[in-house]
Amino acid sequence: MKNKLIIKQRLLTIFSSILFLLVGSCDSFVEVAQPNSQLTSEAVFKDYTTATAAMKDVYAKMRDSGLLTGKSSGLTHLLGQYTDELISYQTSETSAFPFYNNSLVSTHIFVRDNWNSAYSQIYAANAVIKGVNASTVLTAQQKNQLIGEALFVRALLHSYLVGVYNACPYVTSTHYEQNLSLHRLPINEVYALCIADLEQAVSLLPVAYVGTLRSRPNKRVAQALLARLYLYTSQWAAASNAASAVLNETSLYVWEPDFNKVFLKGSTSTLWQFAAAGTVGNTQEGLLFVFNAGPPSTASLTTALFAAFEQGDLRKTNWTRTITGNATWHHSYKYKQGMGSSATTEHSVVLRLAEQYLIRAEARAQQGELTTAKEDLNFIRNNAGLPNTDALTQQDILEAILRERRVELFTEMGHRFFDLKRTGKLNAVLSIVKPGWNNTDSSWPVPESELLINPNLAPQNEGY
């Protein structure tokens, strides 16, 4: 009997222990701590260093993917192929080949990824604005710096989006409920919003650069982009003034006379460049364009572009290179460091001084200030070892500026395409040299996948 009692007691112990597991609250077992590779959004904007890291990551993303990357998927390459700057040596339909052939489809991966990464980068910029605004820790100066940068980035990306895709949504918040059904805004409205953002950025950003090697935009950088967009929207006086504000900042910006040094990381004619990804290796542009024996694997300059340089143009000798084998090929040589380079000497330049001279020249010419327009144009020409322009009439000067832009700004983020487009010359120029050119090719298609998911983006651009 005693034995049985002991048995009963022990049974009780076991049962009650297990039942304890069933009744006892063990919620804490499944509450796990935040992983050590992550920070909450709130915490990021409680500290200037982490908030800055959030902003820097947007630049890193822009450097490495999307519209502004120097990789073969970015505008430098794709718009070069799309217009008359580059020849494609890739032949796959998933490469830049359909861009070269002007036979784009709305499902092309680059059409999709450029759109998607731009909006993803815009989201990150908007998240910085939201986080910084909500922060109770950052100082007003710190807030101005970061919000100014984020507004600049937002305007920059939208300006390229509207350039290639035409009408597009302008995203200013992080609310996905709103952003999932956005409509495309007309081209002029997008530019107006870009300009408004940039004007605010100009008011927030200081003249002095933060960070190293001009890798983060300052007030003048915002003004430089503003000058471009005023020009694109025919606001000549404003364009001229904004360019002057940049050009007059002579304590920072000094013309680099040696064309071989313009794209070096310490160049004084650089307004804004992407910081390198590390201490070794150079730019994506260099990897893309430079080759030492032909035929190249990706791209070479068209003979038409090579022929567009006037006799004696220093840019031809310094910024292009000819490779001879069983045929002759030319490549863009603005960035010298290709495959096999090690120490970082070059950074990817986004905005530089020469464009500002050409913007002001054009804006002045448009306003009838022909003499000062020619001064700016001749400044560029003389520095390139060329004589003064012989253009006399306003029309001739404008033509001369456009020609100058072609040889100054080639293979730099699609200038050729945007210039031909805004001056209405796209069809006239390209239909002659591009067998696949159609008049509807003035814009890329909106990615099919986006149209399907947000029908408010309809209609698709004409021709697709």
Partner: protein, 1006 residues
């Protein structure tokens, strides 16, 4: 009941103490059995069947604990008293009972029992159940099915053999994975449809351990399931319905795969060795254009584009390359024979109390690519059971350690083999070096210098303690542990580049991914079994505590000093850590089961589980799941016994219940920034990683099943038909978002309901069974229909162009081709809304379902004297994408399938293939883009495959106790299909098709 309520009130002592108590405080209950003193006598005898002596037959004395097994000669010896009943039982034979009189020797011939199937005890996870009495839907294969197949992946062994289980091989690349779907797609999330895998009681996380950066040669990142060794497996049970899966609660929605490894048996120590050599070749190739056809296509393309001078880059026809050269690139690049060797050895045996088994395996597979690539796999498996003399205490351990070492090219050459122009240059120049043909092509063999290496070490161990308590109670404690370490790398040495670039080791780079995953699980349980008159009651309650910690790190090293130092990160001038994540998953549950049986005729089974998971935010972590199942063996009723004597067994069963799904990844409820990998201006950036939504919770899956099981003519024919309907709702998905939101999706619950409804039939027949000749046949077929039942707001949601209410969730919306315009030569499509424009949203109105309509297998086993032939036909009725959706516009610089021949050439041509273009005709390019998403791009891809055939000869050895078997086995021997573009079994096109493997082997046992 009083006792229970009393116990319920006192709950204070903590859990660990309970476990200790369970394990150690045991001996006091050992109450000695008092046995009557009677005259004991020694009884010996032999047991045989129609074919001869039968070893390992269990001989017991009814009502007593004593027992023995027959030896190799069927001989046994046991002590029993007059009046005792000896019971002779052996799996697959009818049990015989003989009362002991005064005889000293007994000879028994056992009769094979076709009904064996229902005597089989099926593993249902936390409990086991006689197949005859089960209330749930459970499919099963055993070692007998596995050992006829020369395969290395556990999932491969299940293909075609289990009703309702759809297994697809993703690639023929060694180390590549399989997809498994049990009763269709339940979740809108592509990754949310994997079943739960349990190996010897330990959950085995099946989420990928590879990284897409390093698993570039596979369609999906490396799966950990490859490490399991099929030859170690005793049985695989697949739990399908609510009754069987609800006890797994939140993880049971997609079914549960229970893998049980082999165990030792009482008897003489047995050694077994088997080895085989096999040869594997790609199962099928595509019909591609030859050089003449190809050149004609290209010439026509440029003519159509009005381009008279071939561009400088059109090397294939502008004279740069020989226009007459021909290479069959598929044969050249993927046409080698892979040599495969494998070997297994095991020792097993045991006394009445202790059993053991130790086995080791090695496996090595060569490659079909040109080059030396090897996949190696090996492992050891150990198993130990011990039972106390009084049979109260039992401990059972099983552990396995498996290693994989995979050395493959980083790129699968299948795609390039299918796309390369047939007149592309020679691979080697006259010096025997790679030929780059003056930089006019990328030599495909250069890609083989970039390697994908993978090493996996995997330990799974489990110990189960069982103690039989008085009053019908049994306490159990299960402790499991897994430790998986995986490292894979993808190198990109400078030698892959054309030497003209003068690339050096500074241009070499490597990605290294390491994944380490450790988990432990503790599951204390108490069972109670009671009997009252004709009722039998079983109760089980238990708890689960599971902890899984995963660390993943992806690094990139570049700029090396020498290519020989490529695998040394310290030699890279630039090292980037691309990701470094520690992921903790914790899971806690309480579960229970109540089973009532009445008169061995009526059965009710109630199971339930309350689950908590760290994958959800605060307040959303817990949910309750449960099911009820019932069965009635109606042939137990005398009415049936009297009137339907041909019907030897009949059972109806049904079940209903709710299970869940928490496969949504970890930490998804947090609003966080993550260290991004990119450096900028001297620092690493921080990037927002998702749109924030903390309010998502469990997805639920309601399963309903009804089944009929019938045995005829003493179960020589045994048929099962089951009908099921699974509805999953509160879908937990990454709702797709337009990129203007900054992300492509947001984690959220969606009020959509998906139904999977189907019928599964399986039939087993034993038409002949005698000493010299036996024939067994198994047939299974599964029909399933997937349907999106409801989706409020579908029309305004971002899913509007993907799904249609009332149709499968695996449909594709497509344009409808109306033909080739005789004037322009370009494909035309039906403009459904007649607005004169073709848009996907309005005009892709044709839908095709990519789910299989039905699938199944027919398996036969024919035995004649010493020869045994096994073969399995697998069949699938399905549609799949064809080459049109993967090839570029015909006419471009890429080879094409022969189906593009006969294109439009001039106005007035009425043909079915549009004009060729070299790439400048944007109308043609756009039309082809739509054609790739038209009804012409998805075609019938049904097939019947002689999946497996195995011929075994049992060699007469002349020596007792020595067995020798020789076998010839083949996998994927023959395929019958109308699908033209390679093998019809794939999820992603352009990966290496499954291999046809022919193997020769020998097994020796002594």
């Amino acid at each position: 009941m009083n006792k229970f309520s009393f116990i319920l009130k006192s709950g204070t002592i903590n859990f660990s103490l309970a476990v200790l108590v369970l394990l150690f405080c045991t001996t006091t209950w050992a109450s000695p059995l008092s046995s009557r003193q009677q005259t004991q006598q020694q009884i010996t005898g032999t047991i045989s069947d129609a074919a001869g002596p039968l070893p390992a037959v269990t001989v017991t004395v009814k009502g007593k604990t004593s027992g023995t097994l027959t030896d190799q000669n069927g001989y046994f010896s046991i002590t029993a008293a007059v009046g005792d009943t000896l019971v002779f039982s052996f799996m697959g034979y009818k049990t015989v009972e003989i009362t002991v009189n005064n005889q000293n020797t007994i000879k028994v011939q056992l009769q094979e029992d076709a009904t064996a199937l229902k005597e089989v005890v099926v593993n249902a996870g936390y409990y086991s159940v006689k197949d005859k009495e089960r209330t749930g839907s459970i499919a099963r294969i055993t070692a007998k099915d596995i050992e006829t197949q020369p395969v290395t992946n556990v999932l491969a062994t299940m293909q075609g053999r289990m009703a309702g289980v759809d297994v697809i091989q993703n690639t023929g690349m060694p180390g590549g994975g399989f997809d498994i779907r049990i009763r269709g797609l339940n979740s809108l999330r592509a990754v949310g449809n994997a079943p739960l895998f349990i190996v010897d009681g330990v959950p085995f996380a099946s989420d990928a351990i590879g990284n897409t950066q390093t698993s570039t040669n596979l369609p999906t990142a490396t799966s950990p399931l490859n490490t399991l060794t099929p030859s170690d497996i005793e049985s695989i049970e697949v739990l399908k319905d609510a009754d069987a899966t609800a006890i797994y609660g939140s993880r049971g929605a997609n079914g549960v795969v229970l893998i049980t490894t082999k165990r030792g048996k009482t008897g003489k120590t047995q050694f077994a060795v088997s080895s085989s050599t096999a040869f594997g070749q790609v199962i099928s190739t595509m019909d591609l254009l030859n050089t003449e056809q190809y050149i004609t296509m290209r010439e026509q393309a440029f003519a159509n584009d009005n381009i008279a001078t071939y561009p400088a880059t059109a090397y294939d026809i502008n004279g740069t390359w020989d226009r007459n050269r021909y290479t069959d690139w598929q044969k050249e690049l993927t046409g080698r024979t892979a040599q495969i060797t494998s070997m297994q050895a095991s020792v097993s045996g045991g006394s009445a109390q202790t059993h053991f088994l130790i086995s080791g395996t090695t496996f090595q597979q060569g490659t079909v690519f040109p080059g030396n690539f090897v996949y190696k796999k090996g492992g050891v498996h150990a198993q130990l059971d011990h039972e106390s003399i009084d049979k109260r205490f039992k401990v059972s351990f099983s552990g396995s350690y498996d290693i994989q070492d995979n050395d493959q090219p980083s790129r699968d050459l299948t795609r390039v083999g299918r796309n390369l122009a047939p007149n592309a240059p020679a691979l080697y120049n006259e010096n025997g070096e790679l030929n780059w043909e003056n930089s006019t092509w990328e030599n495909p063999l250069a890609a083989l210098r970039a390697k994908a290496l993978a090493k996996t070490n995997n330990v799974i161990a489990n110990t189960l303690f069982t103690y039989v308590l008085p009053y019908g109670f049994t306490a159990k404690g299960s402790f499991g542990f897994t430790d998986l370490r995986h490292e894979e790398s993808r190198s990109n040495p400078s030698t892959v580049f054309d030497p003209i670039y003068a690339a050096t080791a500074q241009n070499s780079s490597i990605f290294v991914n390491t994944t380490n995953r450790q988990s432990w699980i503790v599951e204390p349980q108490i069972q109670w079994m009671g009997k009252a008159s004709q009722a039998k009651i079983e109760v089980l309650i238990g708890a689960t505590y599971q902890h899984t910690a995963t660390n993943r790190m992806l690094q990139q090293g570049s700029n090396f000093t020498s290519n020989s130092l490529l695998y040394n990160m310290a030699s890279a001038a630039l090292v980037r850590v691309l990701s470094d994540d520690d992921i903790l998953y914790r899971y806690q549950a309480f579960f229970g089961r109540l089973n009532l049986a009445w008169d061995s005729t009526y059965f009710i089974n109630i199971t339930g589980r309350r689950d908590g998971s760290s994958r959800f935010g605060s307040g959303k972590q817990f949910a309750t799941f449960g099911a009820i199942g019932a069965a009635w063996i109606f042939t137990e009723a005398s009415f049936f016994k009297d009137h339907f004597s041909f019907l030897s067994f009949g059972k109806v069963r049904g079940s209903y219940g709710i299970t869940g799904n928490d496969q949504i990844g970890d930490y998804q409820y947090l609003d966080t920034y993550q260290s991004s990998t990119a450096l900028y201006d001297g620092g690493v950036g921080l990037a927002p990683i998702r749109l924030f939504n903390p309010n998502f919770s469990w997805e639920t899956n309601k399963k309903l099943e009804a089944a009929l099981e019938l045995g005829f003519f003493n179960d020589r024919i045994f048929a099962t038909a089951s009908w099921y309907q699974n509805r999953s709702s509160n879908q937990l998905v990454g709702i797709p978002l337009p990129s203007t939101t900054g992300f492509t999706s947001i984690q959220s619950n969606l009020d959509a309901t998906i139904e999977n409804r189907g019928i599964e039939l399986s039939l087993r027949a034993v038409p002949f069974q005698n000493k010299d000749f036996g024939w067994t046949t198994n047939f299974n077929i599964s029909f399933s229909k997937n349907k999106l039942l409801q989706f409020p707001g579908l029309e305004t949601s971002t899913y509007r162009n993907q799904y249609v209410i009332g149709k499968s969730i695996n449909i594709q919306k497509l344009y409808q081709v109306t033909g080739v315009n005789p004037q322009t030569g370009v494909y035309e499509f039906k403009d459904f809304n007649g607005d004169g424009m073709l848009t996907f949203a309005d005009d892709a109105q044709v839908t095709k379902d990519l789910n299989p309509e039905y699938f199944g297998g027919l398996q036969n086993q024919i035995r004649y004297k010493r020869l045994q032939l096994d073969f399995l036909f697998q069949f699938v009725k399905q549609q799949n994408w064809n080459a049109a959706s993967y090839y570029s516009t015909p006419g471009a610089f890429s080879n094409q399938p022969t189906s593009v021949l006969g294109s439009w050439q001039q106005a007035g041509d009425v043909v079915s293939t549009q004009l060729y273009t070299s790439g400048t005709n944007s109308a043609a390019a756009n039309a082809y883009g739509r054609y790739a998403y038209s009804n012409a791009a998805i075609t019938d891809a049904s097939y019947i495959r002689l999946k497996n055939i195995s011929l075994t000869y049992n060699v007469p050895t002349g020596s007792k106790g020595l067995e020798c078997r020789l076998n010839v086995q083949a996998q994927n021997l023959l395929t019958f299909t109308n699908y033209k573009d390679g093998d019809p079994e794939f999820r992603s096109f352009n990966y290496l098709p499954p291999l046809r493997i022919i193997s020769l082997g020998a097994d020796i046992k002594f």
